[in-house]
């Protein structure tokens, strides 16, 4: 069932992303401002989720061919990958 494959791949992706992302924050934060940066990681990504979920909801209700919303959802992490900072 594709839904099960999605859940497994999503969870594997989460395991590769979440702890590493948190581990990088101390390298990117200004001295003494780790709380601000840690909070901002949650707040900014929360804002992305809010806007993204509104967009996804519209997409799912738009009556497009069934595969389209899923292809758009697949494109989002690919695009985000292009934004990742280079270097260590």
């Amino acid at each position: 069932m594709p839904a099960a494959a999605l859940v497994v791949l999503l969870t594997l992706g989460q395991m590769l992303i979440a702890p590493v992302a948190r581990a990088r924050v101390p390298d990117l934060a200004e001295p003494g401002r780790l709380g601000l940066y840690t909070g901002a990681l949650s707040s900014v990504s929360g804002l992305i989720v809010l806007l993204g979920c509104a967009a996804t909801g519209t997409l799912l209700d738009a009556g497009l061919p069934a595969a389209v919303p899923w292809l758009v959802l697949a494109a989002v992490p690919v695009a985000a990958n292009g934004l990742l900072p280079r270097g260590k």
Binding site: M1, P2, A3, A4, A5, L6, V7, V8, L10, T11, L12, G13, Q14, M15, L16, I17, A18, P19, V20, A21, R22, A23, R24, V25, L28, A29, E30, G32, R33, G35, L36, Y37, T38, G39, A40, L41, S42, S43, V44, S45, G46, I48, V49, G52, C53, T56, G57, P65, A66, A67, V68, L71, L73, A74, P77, A80, L84, P85, G87, K88
Partner: protein, 307 residues
């Protein structure tokens, strides 16, 4: 057991306290949250749109204000912010348990959300800082400490609803009070064990960190990548239910898929982090994660019959 598996150098008592705190946070929170919508509908008699609004406001007052809570932790230190957050969460759960008017319920829910905006970034940032110190003193990779932190959170998110469902058999108020009780324990633990001033954590009195932050392109890129993952994860609640219903005829398998996800994190997070840490730098690890997620969505797109 997990600490032994993590490394030969044991984690500091402070790190252990913070990791256990994450476990307790999620047990207390998820003992109540999954049952909130039903309580609002059945006991309080709220309309569906209003429930959606309340839950959205809860997320906003929590996630959206993390940045404020984090800045307060930089300014006043971790201890006062965590203790205040726990006290507010206890008050919020107590209030929610007894609130009967819609206004009071909304107030309680916002207070519960705001409480997390105080304690979570304080705890998360201190864990990250301690993990870096642990790495620098030869303990091992900081990512593994944060992986353990993630696992603790996941165990809590899994155990919380089970506890809540048991207590709900008695009463919603009892689940709220149990949630409050967990936070009383966390408050007591931190009041007793969290130092007034944590060595190495500088305090910044002056404002103005936000300007540098919004110009920090590397940090904003990290936020985008993390946001893309979180957005994908939220599809478990948004896009996946309809897909499961289409493929299986009901949404019943959804609960099993959530359980599968939790179980995978609990059992495989530490090995995956160890495996990736030996082979991939942080950037490649995140890139691999994002690509796996993309493949997952593409698989659903390919498998879907045109309708």
């Amino acid at each position: 057991m997990t600490t032994v598996a993590l490394a030969r150098t044991p984690l500091s008592p402070l790190l252990r306290l913070l990791i256990l705190t994450q476990l307790a946070f999620n047990i207390g929170f998820f003992a109540v949250l999954p049952f909130l919508a039903e309580h609002l509908a059945d006991a309080i008699g709220m309309a569906g749109w209003l429930i959606g609004l309340v839950l959205g406001l809860r997320t906003f007052s929590q996630q959206g204000l993390f940045v404020v809570g984090g800045a307060l932790a930089d300014r006043y230190g971790v201890r006062p912010v965590v203790l205040t957050g726990c006290a507010l969460r206890i008050a919020g759960f107590g209030w929610l348990g007894y609130a009967e008017e819609p206004c009071a319920v909304v107030g309680a829910v916002l207070l519960i959300g705001f409480a997390a905006a105080l304690f979570s970034p304080a705890v998360e940032s201190e864990v990250a800082r301690q993990a870096v110190e642990w790495e620098e003193t030869g303990g091992g990779s900081r990512t593994r400490v944060l992986a353990l932190f993630t696992v603790a959170g996941q165990v809590g998110a899994f155990a919380g609803p089970l506890l809540g469902a048991l207590l709900l058999a008695v009463d919603f108020r009892v689940s709220c009070l149990a949630g409050a009780g967990v936070f009383v324990l966390v408050l007591a633990g931190h009041a007793w064990l969290l130092p007034q001033h944590i060595p190495g954590r500088a305090r910044v009195r002056e404002k103005g960190g936000v300007r540098a932050l919004v110009h920090n392109r590397r940090f904003l890129a990290l936020c985008c990548a993390y946001g893309a993952y979180l957005l994908a994860y939220n599809q478990l609640y948004l896009a996946l239910p309809a897909e499961v219903e289409r493929a299986a005829g009901s949404q019943a398998p959804l609960a099993w898929l959530f359980a599968l996800s939790s179980l995978l994190v609990v059992s495989a997070q530490l090995p995956v982090t160890r495996w990736a840490g030996e082979r991939l730098d942080p950037r490649r690890s995140m890139a691999a994660g994002l690509l796996l997620i993309a493949v997952g969505f593409a698989a659903v797109a390919v498998a879907r019959p045109p309708n």
